[in-house]
């Protein structure tokens, strides 16, 4: 096609112009061929379609969308790490409780091996009110400590004692508890401080 021979179809951009497609073709070709005439240069440099408000709205919308996507993805990651962190903390806390129980059991057995008796034995312990901003429950059975929260984080810590354990479930809302040895029942019980 020889565009040089074509007569310009418009003198100025017009909304009413029906030759819009033709204009675009010319503009495209002109950019690649160089050598614009005055009308073409004016059209190319015309920035009437550029709106600061529209640009701001577009950029702001895109930014909000991107920001939301990032926050959502980070929140998902954060929830995963939160659950893992809670399970780790539960295991540490459960181990601490199991150590206390077995310590009391050892003391009772040592006293018995001496032929003696345990008149009173109390061992205080405290649990955090929340772990990663979540409450939780501690269920102590005859052979394991089970700690779990509503978001699904759960940990088991097994232990073995010759003394009986009176099963109990305690909650993090009350933080201060104690293990009590009941010599009559030869059992370790859980009570409030």
């Amino acid at each position: 096609m020889n565009f040089k021979k074509m007569k310009p179809q418009i003198n100025a951009p017009s909304r009413a112009s029906g030759g819009r497609i033709h204009v675009c073709q010319r503009a495209y070709v002109s950019m690649h061929h160089g050598g614009h005439n005055a009308d073409e240069r004016r059209f190319i440099k015309n920035e009437d379609a550029v709106s600061i408000a529209l640009g701001f709205i577009l950029m702001f919308s895109i930014t909000v969308l991107v920001f939301s996507a990032i926050v959502l993805s980070f929140d998902t990651l954060s929830q995963q790490s939160k659950k893992s962190a809670m399970q780790g903390s539960f295991e540490i806390m459960g181990s601490g409780l199991a150590v206390r129980i077995t310590t009391m059991d050892t003391l009772v057995n040592i006293s018995n091996s001496y032929g003696g008796r345990v008149n009173t034995l109390e061992y205080d312990f405290s649990i955090p009110a929340s772990i990663a901003n979540e409450g939780y429950s501690v269920n102590i059975t005859n052979n394991q400590v089970i700690i779990e929260s509503d978001n699904g984080a759960k940990a088991w810590v097994p232990f073995n004692t010759s003394t009986n354990i009176t099963q109990a479930t305690i909650y993090s809302s009350a933080q201060d508890y104690k293990f009590i040895y009941n010599g009559t029942a030869n059992a370790i019980e859980i009570g409030r401080q």
């Binding site: 600061i52 640009g55 701001f56 950029m59 930014t63 991107v66 920001f67 990032i70 926050v71 980070f74 990651l77 954060s78 790490s81 939160k82 962190a85 809670m86 780790g88 903390s89 539960f90 295991e91 540490i92 806390m93 181990s95 601490g96 409780l97 150590v99 206390r100 310590t103 050892t106 003391l107 040592i110 006293s111 001496y114 032929g115 003696g116 008796r117 345990v118 008149n119 009173t120 034995l121 109390e122 061992y123 205080d124 312990f125 405290s126 649990i127 955090p128 772990i131 990663a132």
Partner: protein, 248 residues
């Protein structure tokens, strides 16, 4: 006019704004992860059982020592001297544990001694202790002194080596001495000395001699004295009663 109409800085501001938001998000996320990763649960435990076991052992040792050291022309004087040493021990022990943040008190019960309630010939001196038990092994020579206050036969002292057993039967209260020459007449060394049916008898005994390793030994029991130990720390409160065989 050109500088006023130039709008390229919008992109710089926008880029700065996005970077700032990104930094805030990253910081919050990292903080959250680091906080949760380092959040410590209630781990560990104070070495309670070692403290209490040590305390029981040193209390028992001190009571034995105090009994052996208790001199006097009468039992009441001996008991007074015994109690004085135990009070001294209790005071020093309290100071030592106070420095470590704990409280301790030892109360000794000398009623068995005062009322001549002798111990059973069981392993731990209690009526429910092991009735058949070996007092000492690998003996080269020994002298056995037994003073029986109450007895419900059978009860015997069994002296055994790898090939032979000699049993000395006791059927009535009273003092008995089994000399080394008597033992040698029946059993050659090395032998073990055991009590059989020790729960059927109460009294005191003393067995002295040498082992095949060349070491002298004393196995003796007069009474079982009870020591009540009260132990308390910031987290633990314990009250234990332990029977202590004296003098050894």
């Amino acid at each position: 006019m050109e500088i006023i109409e130039n709008e390229k800085a919008q992109f710089m501001l926008l880029a700065g704004f996005i970077i700032a938001i990104g930094l805030v998000i990253t910081t919050a996320l990292l903080n959250n992860i680091i906080f949760q990763g380092n959040m410590a649960g209630e781990a560990g435990s104070d070495p309670l059982k070692y403290d209490v076991v040590n305390m029981m052992q040193i209390t028992a040792d001190e009571m034995k020592s105090a009994y052996r050291n208790a001199n006097g022309t009468s039992d009441s004087l001996k008991i007074a001297n015994f109690s004085r040493q135990m009070q001294n021990f209790n005071g020093n022990l309290s100071k030592i544990y106070a420095l470590r943040g704990g409280g301790i008190n030892v109360v000794n019960d000398t009623s068995n001694w005062n009322n001549y309630r002798y111990a059973n010939f069981t392993n731990n001196g209690m009526a429910n202790g092991a009735a058949n038990w070996t007092v000492i092994e690998s003996v080269n020579n020994a002298t056995i002194v037994v003073n029986i206050s109450t007895i419900t036969p059978p009860f015997n002292i069994s002296i055994t080596n790898s090939t032979k057993t000699w049993q000395i039967n006791f059927t009535s209260p009273g003092n008995s001495i089994v000399s080394n020459s008597q033992i040698k007449a029946n059993i050659t060394s090395a032998y073990n000395i055991s009590f059989v049916n020790g729960a059927n008898v109460a009294g005191n005994y003393s067995i002295t001699g040498n082992t095949t390793y060349g070491r002298t030994f004393i196995r003796a029991r007069d009474y079982i004295l009870n020591a009540t130990v009260t132990f308390s720390t910031s987290k633990v409160r314990a009250n234990l009663t332990i029977p202590v065989s004296v003098p050894w």
